[in-house]
């Protein structure tokens, strides 16, 4: 990937408001492969990071429509084609009787699509991440706020990116290496 195993640059903040302001500056500098890490959700982050809407709703819609179609097709084929059997004088394929199963399968596949679609778009599952090599980064789950710019970003330049991060008002800038590459 990158020479000497440098994976990215990390900057630490003690204050979420500074982080949001800093995100806006990284966004304006035109970086694409970067992220912010916080112990809790922060309002206004999406805008400050310039995040666009997620594709997830469309994936869920696809899952739901698949569930609905599959359920109706399955019930119709089983009851009206493969094994026709008259029960209580009902039609072989009666829509009211099919609705509960169709509803459940729609919900089930929508939920699967939401859950696994979220995994997919987040690059999960994975066993390790270079950021876990940073001792400092552990506090991202309790009381520190971080921005990390990946070395794989087309605009990344060790010196210039470091200068930018140092100007953001954070406490420390740290190099993150990908130890698996060493």
């Amino acid at each position: 990937m990158i020479r000497d195993g440098l994976w990215g640059l990390l900057v630490e903040f003690e204050d979420p408001r500074r982080l949001v302001a800093a995100c806006a500056r990284v966004r304006d500098a035109g970086y694409r492969r970067w992220d912010a890490h916080t112990p809790f959700p922060i309002h206004g982050m999406d805008e400050a990071m310039g995040l666009r809407g997620t594709r997830l709703p469309w994936i869920i819609l696809g899952g739901g429509v698949t569930g609905l179609g599959a359920a109706l097709l399955m019930i119709w084929w089983m009851n009206a084609v493969d094994y026709p059997f008259v029960i209580a004088g009902k039609p072989l394929f009666g829509l009211p009787a099919a609705v509960p199963v169709a509803f459940e399968l729609t919900v089930l596949l929508s939920a699967f699509a939401a859950f696994f679609g979220m995994w997919l778009s987040n690059g999960l599952p994975r066993l390790h991440h270079p950021l876990f090599g940073s001792e400092r980064f552990r506090r991202a789950t309790s009381d520190r706020f971080f921005i990390v710019i990946e070395a794989a970003d087309p605009q990344f330049d060790r010196a210039r990116t470091r200068t930018l991060l140092e100007s953001l008002g954070g406490t420390v800038v740290e190099e993150v290496t990908d130890e698996a590459e060493d």
């Binding site: 959700p41 309002h43 206004g44 809407g53 709703p57 209580a88 004088g89 009902k90 009666g94 009211p96 009787a97 609705v99 509960p100």
Partner: protein, 405 residues
């Protein structure tokens, strides 16, 4: 109240002002004019005002369900300790406070039971003699009226509790009042659930006294709650267009209105289908008779209109985040839902009066305008009594700066 809250409130208009008397007069004028038209048109039909009485019942039940929606919206906000709804809670308090005035609008039905309810007429047609004897203790005109006096007394007591306590908090800023409201709201929901579902059954299900559905009370409530969410949306947009509540109610709150309309549209359809499917499946004559009437002579078209118009279209139209945050789309769906939920009650009640055709006509429109006019007059009168925002609520700032995560 901190500086930020004071600044936001100071920059916005939060009283009804001159709009109050204008809406009050307008509502009364429309109400009386439409009432006169409805009675005149009903008289011309020569059916001893039966069409008028049924139609009045539909529109009365509709606006009653909206105010009942507001009455249960309030305790739900307290038990869940919601902050998003604080800025619009006064509007719900005022809509709920219309309940004692709706008691007056119930008089044309209560003083006229025999014209509408088969079991109260001199010659009941819909019940066999032994079934009539079996049901007589409950379907007794005196007991029926007593029940309605009881319902309205309980609802007025609840509505007054929320309205008065909230207004007292405007002056005292006492956070203990919020605790008091939270502590009592669980019981309020229980009392509401029992009275509202019994009232729904009394008002609409006993029109066909041979038929029964245990889910009917919830079905009535759910339709009303959808309509209430839609009405709350329209009132808020209307107030903002007149320059009120600007900067107080934001796209975030409208997003939540959209969620309410979407969720309860689905809930209503879920109940409607649950009721239908059990009867379709078990196929027992005394249960299916109710649907049989509603699946012929034109009523089936209205039924299909409800499936598509009151469920499928608003479901698809309100599912996206974009629609829930777009004010023009929300207004469109709110108006749509209000019209369709009125048609829902029409489809429930009217086939008893006219099983052989859909009698939709000017009488129905006049009754809708009459009840609606009086309802708006009472709501605007109550809203003019105080500020439109509960300024003393401890969660007010949370509500002002609320964001959907």
């Amino acid at each position: 109240m901190n500086e930020q809250t004071t600044a936001t409130l100071g920059a916005a208009r939060i009283d009804l002002g001159d709009l109050g008397p204008r809406l009050f007069r307008g509502g009364l004028v429309v109400g009386f004019a439409a009432l006169a038209a409805a009675v005149a048109l009903g008289w011309r039909d020569g059916d001893q005002l039966r069409h008028f009485s049924f139609s009045w019942l539909v529109s009365f039940a509709f606006f009653l369900s909206i105010s009942l929606g507001a009455l249960v919206f309030l305790p739900i906000q307290y038990v869940t300790r919601s902050s998003w709804s604080v800025v619009v809670r006064r509007l719900a308090e005022v809509i709920a406070m219309a309940l004692p005035f709706l008691a007056i609008l119930a008089l044309p039905v209560l003083l006229n039971l025999g014209r509408v309810y088969d079991w109260a007429s001199p010659q009941p047609r819909l019940l066999t003699p032994d079934l009539a004897a079996h049901k007589a203790p409950f379907l007794d005109p005196t007991f029926f009226v007593v029940r309605w006096v009881f319902y309205f007394a309980v609802w007025t007591w609840l509505a007054l509790f929320y309205w008065r306590t909230s207004r007292r908090q405007d002056r005292t800023r006492d956070a203990a009042l919020t605790r008091r409201l939270v502590n009592r709201s669980g019981a309020a929901i229980l009392i509401f659930a029992l009275t509202c579902s019994l009232a729904g059954m009394d008002l609409l299900m006993t029109l066909d006294p041979a038929w029964f559905s245990t889910i009917f009370g919830v079905y009535y409530w759910a339709g009303g709650f959808v309509a209430f969410s839609a009405v709350l949306t329209l009132i808020t947009v209307g107030l903002q267009r007149s320059g009120r509540l600007v900067g107080i109610v934001t796209a975030e709150h409208f997003h939540d209105y959209g969620k309410l309309m979407f969720a309860f549209t689905f809930f209503w359809a879920y109940l409607a289908f649950s009721q239908y499917m059990l009867y379709w499946y078990s196929n027992i004559p005394e249960e299916t008779a109710w649907y049989l009437v509603r699946q012929q002579s034109g009523w089936q078209r209205l039924g299909l209109l409800l499936v598509v118009g009151a469920f499928l279209l608003p479901f698809a139209g309100l599912i996206s985040r974009f629609a829930k945050r777009s004010r023009p789309l929300l207004v469109f769906w709110a108006v749509w839902i209000i019209v369709l939920q009125w048609f829902n009650l029409y489809w429930v009640a009217m086939p008893v009066f006219s099983p052989d055709h859909v009698p939709l006509g000017p009488v129905d429109l006049s009754c809708f305008l009459a009840v609606g006019g009086f309802w708006i007059a009472s709501v605007s009168r109550l809203a003019a009594a105080d500020r439109l925002v509960p300024v003393g609520d401890p969660r007010l700032q949370d509500s002002l700066s609320f964001e959907n995560a």
